[in-house]
Subunit: 302 residues, 4 copies
């Protein structure tokens, strides 16, 4: 289940800040048409941290219904503590998710034994595959490669999504989980070809919202061992990823800026209606939105 291109879907919003289900249906269909191999709802890119439980559920329900079993749907169950994550995961299962994606606990600093307990308790309580999500920039805790290897070998986790930006660490995760059957997915937009060359099973690129066809081509080239083609596609996508540098960083955060750029690009491509992001994330300025659209035009994706 854990392979291929699995974009972490944006959550389009109406002008009232509600989930724009029509846009989300179009985004889902756009991804499926491009040939993605799975869909990840409720990741950081999906603004899960900004969405209410109600909004999280609506987004997941919309994607599950639209995907209609064509590809697996992974649901983020991102929260500070084990029982809170469990509540989200159970709702996700009821809605129809095929797996849940879970970070280390955060807000309160934890030790490695406490993180292990977190995943083991969730595994014991849940009848759904568990994906360990390593995103230390957000949680403040880097999942140790030896812990991931151990959890994979013990069948506690079914996959790893690595958004740490640390390819050397990812190599160790690949080595440590080898033979366990656990899938290893990279969250990197710009090192995806190299992660594939190293043995990654798949890619979870935020930029995949905007250009899923590109990531599917990259993945296919890598799978057939055509490094040159994968690298050329990566080069093109890395240039496109420059849209996240457009927003003014003194005004809006790294994530707000990236999300706003992705959503502005999706709106420019006509996939979603509005580039609006959820509070407290600030929106791009009109100039920034125009700059994103211009960059897309220049890339032939206008």
């Amino acid at each position: 289940m854990f392979h291929g291109v699995v974009p972490p879907l944006c959550t389009p919003l109406t002008d009232d800040g509600e989930v724009d289900t029509a846009s989300l249906e179009r985004l889902t269909a756009f991804q499926l048409d491009a040939g993605v191999h799975g869909l990840f709802v409720g990741g950081s890119t999906g603004e899960i941290a900004q969405l209410t439980d109600t909004a999280r559920d609506i987004a997941l329900r919309t994607v599950v219904a639209t995907a209609a079993g064509q590809v697996p749907v992974l649901a983020g169950a991102i929260d500070t503590g084990t029982l809170r994550v469990l509540d989200h995961a159970r709702r996700a299962k009821a809605i129809g998710a095929d797996a849940v994606v879970v970070t280390a606990p955060f807000y309160v600093g934890v030790t490695e034994p406490e993180v292990r307990a977190h995943y083991e308790l969730l595994h014991a309580a849940l009848d759904l595959p568990l994906v360990a999500y390593d995103i230390p920039a957000n949680t403040g805790f880097k999942l140790p490669h030896a812990l991931l290897a151990s959890l994979a070998q013990d069948k506690v986790i079914a996959a790893v999504k690595d958004s740490s930006g640390d390819l050397e660490g990812f190599q160790r995760v690949l080595d440590g989980t080898a033979g366990s059957g656990a899938g290893c997915l990279t969250g990197s937009e710009t090192l995806a070809d190299l992660a594939m060359a190293r043995g990654a099973d798949g890619i979870v690129p935020g930029l995949g919202n905007v250009d899923p066809h590109g990531y599917v081509r990259l993945y296919d080239a890598a799978r057939r061992g055509d490094h040159a083609a994968a690298q050329a596609e990566q080069r093109r996508l890395t240039a496109l990823f420059g849209i996240i540098e457009i927003p003014d960083r003194t005004r809006i955060g790294r994530m707000s800026g990236a999300l706003g750029a992705f959503k502005a690009a999706l709106a420019a491509r006509g996939v979603i209606r509005s580039g609006r992001t959820q509070a407290p994330l600030l929106p791009l300025t009109a100039d920034e939105v125009r700059a994103v659209a211009a960059r897309l035009d220049a890339a032939g994706l206008g």
Copy 2:
């Protein structure tokens, strides 16, 4: 409303991990008997990050009912994004909280303008005083003193709870909020006398769960300008605070260790039934529990 000793209550748990309401009632009564000036439910010390929404609500309802209006009850509304905080805050208001305590958004990195938007949106949507909670170790964002001053002068926030450990920064908050009417509370267990000497309105000490009488004496001494008495009481409390050093830090985190020590101490004093903490926080070992009890005995609090 925002002055005096306002302990951030522990949340006692049953062996099944449910809120032990009988113990929480006793803890609340113990605090009221000691003469505290307010109660803070659902702070970091209250394991809010580990409790489900249901458990959060039960804890708050229990304390509100037991306090019965004798002192104000502050409720933590701690979550990653504005709308999630708003959901918690509305439930807290419905249950009877007198104010809500809100950190900077976390998980997703934010800018100062985004944090300002967060508090302004909450203020506009809520009919309840808002306390800004500065706890950068947990959120990764230090609330800038100039932002706090501006929010206080604009009546967006009604108080500040400073758990940053940075007394120099707290001095600037005191200076910047002067004349705004906003209360300034320190979260420090060990610099409380100095914070009071600098002009703090009150103290929110985790250790106050265990020894509220000590903090009330310290506060009273400070209020009447008796620095020597305040410092002597502080010295005694700082020694008692050494119980948080007992747990082995390679096994359980700083917060788990402190919480576990507070709860073990409360159980040793007969105030609550069990020292259990909520997953994924690991419990103290039996030896550590005994060491805490021995330290309490030595301090005459056994």
Copy 3:
């Protein structure tokens, strides 16, 4: 030897970037006239990290000659490794320093046992009192209070200079070194009265370059137990310390800005000839220099 006000002297420079010995003599005399109890040459404030070995030696020689035994002269021996520090310390001893001030090793990450070895080797090799200098913002390593206590009780170090900004930690250093005879000096400009109230032996304030009389008054008030007078003086000095906020932080660093402000203030007071700082630290703009001078005028120190 380790008590009272011990300002970390700025190193005035000529337009060619050489040590301006005439200005440094005036600065030394200015401090002695104000009644300081010691002089610290070659601290972070003295731009030791930017000065060549030759310039370091000239500065120290100038101060030793001017002080002429009236007060002790402490010399920074700040470098990345033990043998490099030893070279600096031996030169300082030959020039006439009464003690050397030494940080944790830096550039290469070290463990607590390696830091202990560092101080023990220096103590064994040097016939000069050793001051442990805790400045984690610069070295990346916080000297643990238990290590400092142990080194003090073993007579490896003769004093601690705490520039960590962590008053709670400083309290533990005070408690841990009690009875060892080691002096405990705070490097805080703005919490000096509180550090004294807690039992500090002295103050090493960068701002003391500009207003040594103020810090001497504060120290004297604290020594005679007059908290109110100490706090009033502290309040005045804290306001004056606002000059370090004048430089634009997007252009010059925290240290450059503070140093530039101190030197601009000393030039405005006529104590030194030029506010120039050493490369790569950027100088204040002319507007910023004027703003510093205006602030001094307003404080009656023009």
Copy 4:
């Protein structure tokens, strides 16, 4: 000049802690025999932070004499401030270095404009190519890719050595410096094949001390476009790099451990006489030394 395998040479020491010049001559010859393309003396791996100026000069003199012009010799000029670096660089030039390698200033926090000034002043004052050395774990400052690109395009720097561990950032450096003529070298032991695939000009691997033949094979394979061969060699070297995990991290630091392991391996291979490291770095235990030797044997390098 800046291409190929350029190992950052260890500095072998005698039992008295002096530079073991005979061992260093053997190490240099060992590298030249293996076909390396340059030699880097006085890097972090060369314990430059722990060596006195005298020892730094002896080491450089030894390598320059042994290399005798066969390959370029790069010398680290690593220090906290511009003028201190300049002193080191001038001595290195006098001894015969072909280029100097310079980090961002450290100890005192700096801004990007101050770092730019640092390199520009050095370039103006020195008649020797300048290599910008990005090692944020040691300096606390990540050299921004846009700054490196600008310095390269302006011919201020002649090359970049990237030891940041951030391959995505290195990609941007490669893109930004394209056409400038500046060489781009990776300091990664374990991602060298990928860095080469991305367009790196060379590799500066600490592990190259131990197995230069392996890195030369990897480099040659990458140069002729044989990704499979480069990756296979990388896989073998990555396994060998596991020797740095042998030392106990609670006792000795990351750098001490890696250096100690490299030196122990070189001693086991008979290239140098002793695995001793310089104070305050702690040595490996006898068991750890044996474990390193056993790992080498198993790798066929005993």
